[in-house]
Symmetry: C2
């Protein structure tokens, strides 16, 4: 069980929009080519990101743009937007422990605080990384690629 690729695809999308916004109209087909998935998969994702207020999408004429400053969009915002976990509960607790057993009756309450702390640690880290960071990292890798091409 892993966190859906929607999450990494969404970050990929932000990087693409920012990188190509001046040279291309950013359509779902354009993004689909870079990500290498079906355009409908992209459109479904764009709908989620739009609902979360992170991007704007032009109906009809087409084209997507980022709705907020890059350093105001955290990985956590994206993670929430694309609904990686149900009910915002990272851990799936087994549903019906026996109420006849003292352990069964109490295990859920007993564990909750610990599990929340683990989840919070992950989310805290996600909140501290922004789309700006991701795009800068990507540009740095692209630059390295170019400079090594020049050397050759």
């Amino acid at each position: 069980m892993q966190i859906s690729s929607r999450f990494t695809i969404a970050i990929h999308i932000f990087a693409c929009i920012d990188t190509f916004k001046n040279d291309y109209k950013i359509t779902s087909d354009f993004l689909a080519s870079s990500v290498n998935v079906n355009p409908v998969v992209i459109r479904r994702l764009l709908t989620q990101l739009k609902t979360a207020g992170l991007i704007t999408v032009a109906r009809g004429s087409g084209g997507t743009s980022i709705a907020k400053p890059l350093d105001k969009i955290s990985f956590y915002d994206i993670y929430l937007a694309v609904e990686c976990v149900e009910d915002n509960q990272l851990f799936h607790f087994h549903d019906n422990p026996s109420t006849l057993c003292p352990v069964g009756r109490n295990i859920h309450n007993a564990l909750d605080e610990r599990l929340e702390r683990i989840q919070a640690a992950m989310e805290h880290e996600m909140k501290n990384i922004t789309v700006k960071d991701a795009i800068e990292d990507t540009k740095r890798f692209i630059a390295m690629e170019n400079s090594s091409a020049i050397k050759k």
Copy 2:
């Protein structure tokens, strides 16, 4: 997408073994009654925990016991044992970004370090919680239950 209930069930199992080890033989049927799932689900889990060296299971005669000191078994040990994520990669990266696109070519490398840091934050927290903690929490809740029953 959530972390499999195998994880919380495994912790439940440890709590049961420790709580009832002096009074009952801990069979898969016994555990299945407390967790309220099919005994085969328990046996599959016990096999994983045994493989990881966390418990011992007596073939034939039956009965399970914990193989290490309670404070030497961390939530992370259990998480690894029950294989909650594939390849130890919490994030599912989309498989084939376009190599024709500079962003597509570099996004994976550019993101990896950030994603690893998020995953590490979660795992770090998991390593700091032990079965001993969980069992103590559970016993505290059981004790509260008893004392409020007495009051009544």
